[in-house]
């Protein structure tokens, strides 16, 4: 969510991820990105442009849970965690096969 964006922009963008398993949400506020700052491992930055992967069984109680794996774009996080679809898929598969 940047300054001038609207819900209509979000509706248009959903076409880029039409997978029926995905749910799409819109917020014009930073509250969620603030709440996910610490779980994503960020100090000051909001958690926009992060990709948070959660294991089976993880539940969201009062505060958002910590992800099992994080990738990002342009954050002060390790560069090897910069978004890479292949690496992310590896991690998804690792978690899917984990017992």
């Amino acid at each position: 969510m940047l300054g001038g964006e609207t819900e209509a922009d979000a509706r248009a963008a959903t076409a880029l991820m039409p997978d029926p398993r995905a749910s799409h949400y819109w917020t014009g506020a930073h509250t969620l990105a603030e709440a996910l700052r610490a779980p994503a491992g960020l100090q000051e930055e909001l958690a926009w442009d992060t990709f948070l992967l959660f294991s089976r069984g993880t539940r969201w109680e009062d505060a958002p849970p910590s992800p099992a794996y994080v990738m990002h774009v342009g954050k002060r996080l390790p560069p090897e965690r910069r978004l890479n679809g292949d690496k992310l898929l590896e991690q998804v598969n690792r978690l899917r096969t984990a017992r």
Binding site: A10, A15, P18, S23, Y25, S55
Partner: protein
Amino acid sequence: MRAVWRVFSWLAVCALPLAAQPAQEAREIPQPVRVEGLWEGMILYDPAQVELETTVEIARDAQGKLVGTIDLPSQRMKYHELRDFKVDGRKVSFTFYRNSEKRGPNSPFVFDGEVSADGLVMAGIFTGFYNEEKGTDRVPFSFERIGEPGDERPEPVAPPVIPLSPAYSELRDAFNRDADAVRILILISPT
């Protein structure tokens, strides 16, 4: 449509040995490849990180000259004109022109590629989007033929958007509903 092309390709491969038998000495004469079609694929600006969805439609006008358009949704480009077509055997190149922050107005963005022997894939190098990290403006592209020029294009599916309440309980509820699955939460700007 793709399945139909694959069947044609299979028939062509199977038929080739029979047709070739009586003319064992015949030499292959390179033919210009047929590039007319509806092509869809990616410009691999930064593979697995930034891959730009691309649709290219190439046809012949009434004079037999190649004409075409390109869609690059990430650049908000739709039916943008392609020009400067060159076909040499299986090699093909074409260009679109657009203002570039780095290179100025009406700068060329060039595709130099090759069409596969079965005519289903076009792949090569795209020049024009400068990648500062890699210090180059040459990146790979790969398109698959998905139809013929003028074919109806696949309609984009746009799933619904759920506005979040201040406590984002809609998201939290969905997250917990799927607690027996691996989940990914992506926070991104829609533009």
